[in-house]
Symmetry: C2
Subunit: 198 residues, 2 copies
Amino acid sequence: MNFPKGQSRYSTTAKTNKEPIIFGDRGMTLEQEINESNNYYRNHQLGVIYKKPTPIQIVKVDYPKRSRAVIKEAYFRQASTTDYNGVYRGYYIDFEAKETRHKTSIPLSNFHEHQITHLQQCLDQKGICFVIIKFVTLQRYFVLPASDLINFWQRAKQGGKKSMSLQFITNKAIEIHAGYNPILPYLTACEQLIQGDK
Amino acid sequence: MNFPKGQSRYSTTAKTNKEPIIFGDRGMTLEQEINESNNYYRNHQLGVIYKKPTPIQIVKVDYPKRSRAVIKEAYFRQASTTDYNGVYRGYYIDFEAKETRHKTSIPLSNFHEHQITHLQQCLDQKGICFVIIKFVTLQRYFVLPASDLINFWQRAKQGGKKSMSLQFITNKAIEIHAGYNPILPYLTACEQLIQGDK
């Protein structure tokens, strides 16, 4: 893929992101890295991908005079999908992101049944589905096709391993390397999935 | 499209929707009708489309012992996208839904700049983008291609009409008719958009 020359990461971010700007990658969460990458992709017309808002059950709202509504009682709800979706070159993109501090594996307990179900449903509709896994202490990032995660999940339910080893992941996933424009070039891995390289 | 024979709308709904079940279409909001249709499409493997949660800025959360977290202060945030997206037969689907009690037109004030921008960005990525418009008093529903809405919006900014007439909509949109399985068969209109009939 050719990425058009653009502004530096920070000025690009400042225009669109209302979150505080974090200078330097160290200490950024995977979510922040993906959000910044999505800003970059959107600003450069390379893809339109967003994190979905956290679902909230609102119980009580106050409407004070002359100021905006305040939610006074609400609860977190269980999401029914993955966290990220969008469109890239006509393809539907859907993924979940997980980070782990383990060094040699990622336990399946990081994933939830509803995420597996949702990924399978999207695969059935010919979506491009995967998970981005960050090994925090190793500073390594992988794009693992949803089909491999789902297969592993099904085997685990029948008594198989409950944790995906780093070796399994290096075999099945596409490794991506953190950079600047974007921080996480995961659409390059997407393109490989689309071309059927993996 | 062929819809497989399924369970009645109500039993289908009861399995997946935690909202109270509303018997009878009269009085259902457009949002409820679309959500029920999305449940139907998902349960019949015809498409995976969800309404996105409302974005909330959380300020204060209490964690009472032995019970779940309670959000005690939060604010509604401006959404940056449309309300609905998902995947259908490999296509990325993105749309907004609006209802009006007007009988002969729908004012552009129902739409927001960020929705127009988002629809254009998704069109640029070859998404299937549209708005579903419900004329409540007429009980008529239309699937209007995003490109027609965007063109109208641009003309309005240059001094053109500020309201889309029913005649404009009947010319440009695909009319859909409320039924039972699903309540709003809007993917049939999507299919027409994909085939380029409209």
